[in-house]
Symmetry: C2
Subunit: 130 residues, 2 copies
């Protein structure tokens, strides 16, 4: 079984050691094994959790929600339904955000096009602001 130090995990996932300790402290990583000196020895499961957390965080999912999810996971089978509902709810939130960002990207593209036209002299004004 592979065990790696916090320095290695930090490098692997591009998260600071402080962030990893913080994540563990608040309950985002179910079980981080330690050696007999109290030093963390992340195993594969911890790493998978970290990767999962990182992915969810990169999309902006709130830490509170992730704490909830992991806490439900730790409680076992009886929380399957609740976990599923949580995931669905969060997915819907992300879809909403996704749409919003898509709209904003479109708007920016249009705006940039106008700037290009001004640069090419096809437009004389810049009164389309905002």
């Amino acid at each position: 079984m592979i065990k790696i130090t916090i320095a290695e995990v930090s490098k692997k996932y591009n998260l600071t050691q402080d962030t990893l300790r913080y994540y563990e402290k608040i309950g985002l990583i179910p079980h981080v094994p330690r050696n007999n000196n109290g030093i963390r020895n992340f195993d594969e499961e911890s790493c998978r959790w970290i990767e999962f957390i990182k992915c969810m965080r990169s999309a902006g999912m709130q830490i509170e929600v992730l704490i909830k999810y992991i806490s439900l996971f730790k409680q076992g089978r009886e929380t399957l339904e609740e976990r599923r509902n949580l995931l669905i709810e969060q997915k819907e939130k992300l879809v909403e955000k996704y749409t919003e960002i898509g709209n904003t990207i479109n708007r920016l593209e249009n705006k940039i096009k106008i700037y290009d036209e001004i640069a090419e002299g096809k437009r004389k004004d810049f009164m389309e602001e905002p």
Copy 2:
């Protein structure tokens, strides 16, 4: 020319009056007209800016960037190029974010599918966590 109070703008764009005053204070709304008692009378241009700011913020664009953009806008034609570059850079950031959220949505959908299979009895384990 239509002029509306902060209360009306607040309602129209679903932003608190505090937020609107804050936005003006930090330089996000180029020019908000006032009556002779110092009370804000938002005109159409202010409203367009507010709507623009709201759209950008909803996608997570940072306030600092928006302050920069508006400050460039106020300086006039000589900043056209710089504004265009700023918009392109921000658009690219949003595209990155968009992709990340898309990936996370896919991942959540797969996870939800697994939960469904467990619920239907097609899977007995839930060890696919995380």
